[in-house]
Point group: C2
Chain length 217, copies 2
Amino acid sequence: MTHSEENHIKAIFHLGNKGTVAVSTNAIAELMETKPSSVTDMVKKLAEKNLVHYKKYQGVTLSELGVKVALGIIRKHRLWEVFLVEKLDFSWDEVHEIAEQLEHIKSEKLIDKLDTFLNHPKFDPHGDPIPDKNGLFKPADRKLLSEVPVNSNGICVGVKDSSSAFLKFLDKNKIALGDVITVLEKEEFDNSFYIKIGDRREHISNQIASNLFIKIS
Amino acid sequence: MTHSEENHIKAIFHLGNKGTVAVSTNAIAELMETKPSSVTDMVKKLAEKNLVHYKKYQGVTLSELGVKVALGIIRKHRLWEVFLVEKLDFSWDEVHEIAEQLEHIKSEKLIDKLDTFLNHPKFDPHGDPIPDKNGLFKPADRKLLSEVPVNSNGICVGVKDSSSAFLKFLDKNKIALGDVITVLEKEEFDNSFYIKIGDRREHISNQIASNLFIKIS
DNA sequence: ATTTAAATTTAGGCAAATCTAAAAATTTGT
DNA sequence: ACAAATTTTTAGATTTGCCTAAATTTAAAT
């Protein structure tokens, strides 16, 4: 598998609800910052290799094999992210680009040993679940802060948007995974939220609230 | 820099006494398992980029910039090898292939942090010196066991041939870096050696002796 | 010092991954 | 339901890294 093939598989997985929902070449191209025509070419190649199901003009889904491959890449990506943050002391907004490179290193033994070294972590630094060797992971029971009823109480367990910009915003505002959050009030006018986080009271926009996952306790 | 470019630079460095001695395209091709004509192409490209000095039919040497690049790659390779052996518990004969991949990961910060995490090691698992950030490393004062006078006493600090086959042989015969070795006698007939290693007496062929480095104490 | 052998380069070609521009299919709006 | 807009694919070109086969240069041998 080339890097490019792996990246396309990953994109289809992420855009198409784990590869189950048909994704347009346009969408893939946009995510990958390439052109739709290039995606068409690649998708044909992946179809040849039985990694995707593809019908002209109808979008792409992953085959069973494709899902397996995608989960393998995601597993590697997220394990490396844990390594970078926990062992090398990177901050959570710096690790994505490096993990994008590391995820393509080929060695099953390496990733098994890395997993062991890290004590079989279940979540990456952004709260996303890490598939195990067989591609299984518990569908984290978490909800977007924006979609939880007022007075809900829980722990911040993940972010939906893991862009560097958003993560830096959270750092600046001292919001981190593990923080205890209570939704105090919803402002109907602009859909913003008043929350209690730790022992502070904060006012966060809807955009922030709809990118924070909490686990209701 | 592409992987292929980096690999060519590395080959020129290793074959040409750190890039200072002209290397033939043939030699490079053989080491890299490619064809001389392909090497010619690449070498021209590297010359364009001022990474090598190249005169048709006269072989290649590294430019100052080329040496810098080579040292950077070697630094990465060897630091990753230390990581694999010390942290992930790989054996020293397994790490080369994986490090060949990892050495191409691009992130200065990553390698600095890895270096710190590993406590700025000076040698890789085969006893080869690791260049520091500025490309400097002490020229390890070590000699081949085969070239040391009888009755010399020292510590085994490295291997010349780090092929998996040789390393496995050493493991099987319980010869490891750090072992104390005394050259007891040289057998003139076949140039083999009788040595004391730890508290055992061993008889090793010239081929073995000329691939083991010791540091005379 | 030629001739022969070996090494090296050139020329031309191929496959992968990308692109642009044009053609074809699908979707949308009225 | 049909024309217009949008999406998607095809066709053809480009770049990179590699190859084979032929030509050229250098080195070796008699």
